[in-house]
Symmetry: C2
């Protein structure tokens, strides 16, 4: 019987410009780790929170990781309890799916303690219930890529279907986090409740073109499609310097550039050979607005949440 | 020098439930033929209109086929004139892309008379200008599948990009034309000018799920995605019996069922083994509403407009 397991779940870029609430992709450069440890005391407890963000609820029912594991525990009528140790690698309110990653890492780790581990779709649902504690709404566009890896489409909420969409191998994602906070709830509250029919058609064409471009390795199709005519125009006001950063990214060869999730992180897709100049251009643009940044370049590997080596070897031994 | 050429262009199902104004697929069971004949008299003339629909303008500038060839002629500064003989196989105002098919067949045939034949994207643009004469608006969701064949995505109007999306081989399209007319302009006029944000997200998920389902041969994903929450609810009032026909199709195994273009033709996608029972169920449903139907079953082959055998052999001889 395994006493403890540790899992890493990657950060993620939700929406990906054209798939509001349905598309997201993992980024491997940062993520959250959660250790789950068996406890004789029933229930789920958050034992510690460390890392780049510590200002999070210690009450399990109000913590995304705690809530997700509570859901997993209830579903499996599991006996005994769990202690969670959370190590945050993803900054708070950065638009990089931090709450989703904590929920995903928590269920992946806690799942190892179960006599009958749950399947991935069950973990997805439990993590979604966890993230709901943070965002107030149910969506999967961060959860699914963090759990499965790569570029992921989610269709449906009650009975979700997941599709990993292949990403052309030469594509890199540059993502730049200017040092300001945008609360997901604020970014959601400012959205208009309707979309004009013409923007609906335009964005549909972009979404479809982007997906077809990915399946057929057609970078020019991706370039022509990877822009957001619905959400970004409403949210860009929350991010000083966004329009300049976006223009600089495109001028330096990016295929597309938009807001990661609710922001303020801004991401750009580009061919690998343009990645460094796109990165510099974006950082410089935010610098001109007095905003220091953290910045990364990542490939979009289809590698989702995983157990840390020690735990993984235990699992292999058990199997 | 070729004196005349004849081309066939297939009918098409536009929108395909989830891609309003951007998706369409060809159906091979019916279509229009146009013969283009060189004439010493400059300009374009409609010499005859025969077939299932003859009540169409003979004035070339107001006829979709005539207008399309005029555009091709002007673009190529072609000398001399063209006579067009149109044979309509597609019923008027049926929602099967009849005006698009005439425009496509006309430019494909007339193109053979040019010293320097135009490429397919040029033919697409000219046919679009032709169809504009009929519908009043510019869109490609009938034109592109009729010209290219198969299931086709069009992104953009001014500089359109075309993507043929693979369709799982076992899929058949059942389409049923109840005998009533719906004018495209009426069907368009009744649409609300906005879409709710939640329906926008839902339909985006359906569109993306449908495309991914096609690329990955995933019939269950197609089943979960192939329904229209935006346009169909508004247009179904134009087609008595539609809701019963749709329910019958789904109850008999259809993956999805919706309105073809602006209607009144209703189409259903299904696995080949369910095609005949879906067809019977739909015809019976319309029969209960006193509407006789024409009905077909077709595979969705990637076969677009083509020259008739005689003309094609001339072309091969010339090359």
């Amino acid at each position: 019987m395994i006493e403890s397991a540790k899992a890493f779940a990657p950060a993620s870029v939700a929406n990906v410009a054209v798939g509001f609430d349905i598309l997201g992709h993992a980024v491997q450069s940062l993520g959250d780790c959660v250790t789950a440890r068996r406890s004789p005391q029933p229930g789920v407890r958050i034992q510690s929170i460390a890392g780049v963000t510590t200002d999070l609820p210690l009450d399990a029912a109000n913590n995304t990781a705690g809530r997700a594991v509570l859901a997993l525990w209830e579903l499996n009528r599991a006996e005994g309890g769990v202690e969670l140790h959370i190590e945050k690698g993803i900054p708070m309110s950065s638009g990089l799916g931090g709450s989703a990653a904590s929920a995903v890492a928590a269920v992946v780790a806690a799942n190892e303690l179960l006599a009958c581990p749950a399947d991935k779709l069950t973990l997805l649902r439990c993590a979604m219930l966890g993230e709901q504690a943070a965002s107030g709404s149910m969506h999967l566009d961060n959860i699914a890529p963090s759990l499965f890896g790569g570029l992921v489409l989610t269709v449906g909420i009650d009975n979700p279907r997941i599709k990993q969409i292949p990403v052309p191998r030469s594509i890199r994602c540059v993502f730049v986090h200017p040092h300001l906070r945008v609360a997901t709830s604020d970014a959601r509250a400012l959205l208009r409740k309707t979309v004009s029919l013409s923007d609906f058609v335009w964005q549909s064409a972009n979404l479809a073109g982007f997906i077809c471009g990915c399946y057929t390795n057609d970078l020019e199709m991706i370039r022509d499609s990877l822009f957001d005519v619905v959400i970004e125009p409403q949210r860009q006001q929350l991010i000083p310097g966004f329009t300049v950063a976006r223009a600089s990214a495109l001028a330096n060869g990016a295929l597309g550039c938009s807001i990661s999730g609710a922001g303020p992180t801004v991401f750009a897709w580009c061919d690998a050979r343009h990645a460094q100049q796109v990165r510099s251009a974006m950082v410089e643009a935010f610098g001109q607005h007095g905003l220091p940044c953290d910045d990364w370049v990542t490939s979009i590997e289809a590698k989702g949440a995983r157990l840390s080596v020690q735990a993984a070897s235990k699992v292999r031994a058990r199997e």
